[in-house]
């Protein structure tokens, strides 16, 4: 069970990365205009 010493921090690190990424995307306004984002993805510029 020694492997847990690595596995648990690794799992938590990945989870925290996801959380930070979500908080960052919230802060940078990526969820402000959900309807517009789907159209913008298709425009060329």
């Amino acid at each position: 069970m020694d492997v847990l010493v690595f596995l648990i921090p690794a799992a938590l690190f990945l989870g925290v990365t996801g959380l930070v990424a979500l908080l960052w995307s919230l802060r940078s306004g990526q969820f402000d205009d959900i309807d517009g984002a789907e159209h913008r993805a298709l425009s060329d510029d």
Binding site: M1, I8, L12, G15, L19, L26, D35, G36
Partner: protein, 778 residues
């Protein structure tokens, strides 16, 4: 009569002709811009007409073409354009004109109106949800490992490690994510009330505290997972609720900005500046242009015009005003430009009176709300007493450890999740369904109050009829099609509301080049070498014809058209029924509702509308006080009343009814203090609202029964010590899941079934209504 003619002649002689194609209004919008510290200006515009993906590059392209623009971003969800630019604030007038030329109506927001605190609260909630979600996933992962290990080969050391890791994740996460509940509970306690937040807080704190204690004594179970999942699930509900409300409010704000809650302030040097109402003080002078709504209460200082006061008084016949006459906010200016000295702006005198009436009516309405609050107040102590009794019982039977665990299990299992979600979850689902049908809910408890509605009172002007005048088919048949086509094409260039009735008919959508419009007169242009004029009777030399037409047809207004020296044509326009009014009223009647029309207008037009809709109960020339009295009398007679009305003068009557609904095409949104608003030209949202209300009530009842049954079964089990806090938390989550899923049924497309009305109700429905207030006995 001669006086008016003189005024008309004067107006024509001094008319300020302007070409239609140019900048429609070179106005100054500086009052709406906010300056950022680095010298850029920022303004937010509400847009109308943003419907598709192609709008994004179109709108942003227009804005980016403006000199000095740093950033232009269109928010499609909210239909808003944010522009930041360097340089003079005047540039924004040009941007608005350019957007309007592309077919997007644009109006700036009043930055003072924006509720920054609410947006911050929403962001905070979403952040809390993210943290709770992260924590509950990880804690659950570790907790499941412990359960699996407990029935196989986990060592006590590993289990303790896992519990401690859970504690390290769950404690800070719960402290951060649960803030809104703790604050709510604390606020409630300070006001000496037990809110729903209190047992939630108590449950979270006790579970976490007990879990730490259990971990310290190396126990097999800890309950961090239960506590953090509770926070997570509750936050989902709150975020959904808040998001729906925010979206509704954003759209309502757009509408109010587009309806022009602004006034053109006339400076001492003759400059005109568009400012929000909140920036206007009594004594200032404002300019009211033709086709605009009067935004303030005041006295006419200069100019003469006809005002459509239908929003204020319900009277559809235009009223002539001259210098010295009072005008009220909400009136629609038809013909001429007016200079008005403001007596009251945002806090209007007429509106104040209306608000006073409304406050009194609102105070009588909250009986249902009080009942709901009482139920909560009763439920919360019962839970606490049950938990306390459990603790006491187990303390005598076996000791403090079992006592704590079982008391917490009772607290958790009854955590008012299912009960708390039973109604809000349905509200969220139902308001989503209504949103699709074009109904915006204003008050949270509208749906509950819709139950048992058996009488629907309609106002006429702007509710059963469309707010803008149209050309009736019968009138159209009498007119020369060629003349009509020319007049319609000319009307395209006019901003006058009556011209809108004609411009909709234009087959050739190309405006006439070189058209000139003058305030108070009309529009003229050269078509195929012949001067054509469209406008007031005087402008076309058709006063006697117009007067003859009005004498035979008193509820119409007239427009005149003249081609060269040919005989002028009088075109009557009138307020028209909403396109589906007849079917809607028929559906409602078939579903067993009693339909009543109360209008402030003259008996003639009201009778015509009532006859067209086959409504027997109608009354004309009702003042706001009369309407309130009539509604009160119906309520005293045991009826539950839905008032569908528009406008400022109806606000008190709306408040007096059990539920109120208002179309937002004409009224200022912020002044339309109805429980629900509906958009568009159709009357069908009334049916949608009632059908959804019925369905929502049914689902709410199911949910309440389910939660009650769940509690009746679960509390004794938990109190008997058969459930650990973990199972309690799972059962609680499961029950909220069932309730939430059931709530989704309220999203079904609303349809109004023809109900089997009980015999005595059908009899009561056919009995005459007590429209007069019941005599008071001393």
């Amino acid at each position: 009569m001669s006086c008016c003619d003189l005024a008309g002649a004067y107006a024509e002689a001094h008319a300020h002709w302007r070409p239609v194609e140019g900048d429609p209004r070179a106005r100054d919008y500086a009052a709406f811009a906010t300056s950022l510290p680095d010298g850029t200006n920022r303004i937010e515009l509400a847009l109308e007409g943003v419907t598709c993906a192609a709008c994004i590059p179109a709108v942003e392209g227009v804005a980016a073409g403006l000199p000095g623009v740093v950033r232009a971003r269109l928010n499609v969800t909210d239909s808003r354009l944010l522009v930041e630019w360097q340089g003079a604030a005047e540039a924004i007038g040009g941007l608005i004109a350019m957007l309007e030329a592309r077919g997007y109506a644009a109006r700036p927001f009043d930055p003072r109106r924006r509720d920054a605190a609410e947006a911050a609260q929403m962001r905070q909630l979403v952040r809390a949800l993210a943290v709770a979600g992260f924590a509950s996933m990880n804690v659950m992962l570790l907790a499941i490992s412990v359960w699996a290990g407990n029935v196989s080969d986990i060592t006590p050391e590993t289990r303790d490690l896992f519990h401690w890791i859970q504690a390290v994740i769950a404690l800070p996460a719960a402290a951060y994510a649960g803030q809104t509940f703790y604050e709510g509970a604390f606020r409630g306690l300070r006001a000496r009330r037990l809110t729903m937040d209190f047992p939630i807080t108590l449950g979270i704190v006790l579970t976490l505290g007990m879990s730490v204690a259990e971990t310290l004594r190396h126990a097999e179970h800890a309950y961090f997972d239960g506590a953090i999942m509770l926070v997570f699930f509750l936050l989902i509900g709150r975020v959904l609720d808040q998001a729906m409300r925010r979206r509704t409010r954003a759209l309502a704000e757009n509408l109010s900005a587009l309806r022009g809650e602004t006034a053109a302030l006339l400076g001492a040097d003759g400059t005109v500046q568009d400012v929000p109402l909140s920036a206007i003080a009594p004594g200032a002078r404002v300019l009211v242009r033709p086709g605009e709504r009067v935004a303030v209460d005041g006295v006419v200082e200069d100019g003469a015009s006809d005002l459509d006061q239908s929003l204020v008084t319900g009277e559809t016949r235009p009223q002539r005003v001259a210098p010295g006459d009072p005008v009220y906010a909400g009136a629609l200016n038809a013909a001429g430009a007016l200079t008005v000295r403001v007596t009251a702006a945002a806090q209007g005198t007429l509106l104040q009176e209306v608000e006073r009436l409304m406050g009194a009516a609102l105070a009588r309405k909250s009986a249902a709300l009080r009942l709901a609050e009482q139920a909560t107040r009763l439920y919360v102590p019962i839970v606490h007493v049950a938990a306390a009794l459990t603790a006491l019982g187990w303390l005598f039977l076996s000791g403090w450890h079992a006592a704590t665990i079982n008391a917490v299990a009772v607290l958790l299992i009854t955590c008012p999740c299912a009960l708390g979600l039973a109604i809000p979850a349905v509200q969220v689902a139902a308001s989503g369904a209504l949103f699709r049908e074009g109904v915006l809910l204003n008050a949270g408890d509208t749906l509950e109050r819709l139950s048992g509605i058996d009488t629907i009172v309609f106002d006429k002007t702007g509710t059963l009829t469309l707010p803008e005048p149209v050309l009736a088919d019968a009138d159209r048949a009498r007119l020369d099609p060629e003349m009509l086509a020319l007049a319609a094409r000319l009307a395209l260039s006019s901003r006058h509301p009556m011209a809108g009735a004609l411009s909709a008919l234009a087959a050739n959508r190309e405006p006439v080049p070189g058209a000139r419009e003058s305030a108070g007169l009309g529009i003229e242009a050269r078509i195929d070498g012949v001067i054509c004029r469209l406008g007031s009777p005087r402008f076309c030399g058709a006063e006697s014809m117009a007067q003859a037409a009005l004498a035979t047809d008193p509820d119409a207004s007239v427009l005149c058209f003249r081609r060269g020296e040919a005989a002028p044509v009088v075109i009557p326009v009138r307020q028209h029924l909403r396109p589906d009014a007849r079917e809607t009223i028929e559906t409602l009647r078939a579903a067993g509702y009693r339909i009543v029309i109360l209008s402030g207008d003259h008996p003639g037009p009201v009778a015509a509308i009532a006859a067209a809709l086959e409504v027997v109960d109608w009354q004309a020339e009702r003042t706001p006080q009369d309407k309130i009295a009539a509604i009160e009398a119906m309520r005293v007679a045991g009826r539950r009343v839905l008032m569908v009305g528009d406008g400022i003068n109806d606000a008190p009557a709306l408040a007096a009814a059990d539920v109120s609904l208002s179309p937002v095409t004409a009224a200022h949104v912020s002044q339309a203090a109805a429980d629900a608003l509906f958009l568009g030209r159709r009357l069908a949202p009334v049916v949608a609202l009632l059908a959804t209300g019925r369905r929502a009530r049914q689902v709410m009842l199911e949910n309440l029964w389910f939660s009650a049954a769940y509690n009746v079964v679960a509390i004794p089990l938990a109190a008997a010590g058969w459930l650990t806090p973990l199972i309690a938390a799972l059962a609680m989550s499961g029950s909220s899941l069932v309730v939430s899923l059931n709530a989704l049924r309220a999203r079904a497309r609303p349809r109004l079934p023809a109900p089997a009305i009980p015999k005595q109700m059908a009899d009561a429905a056919s009995a005459p209504l007590p429209l007069r207030p019941a005599p008071r006995t001393a």
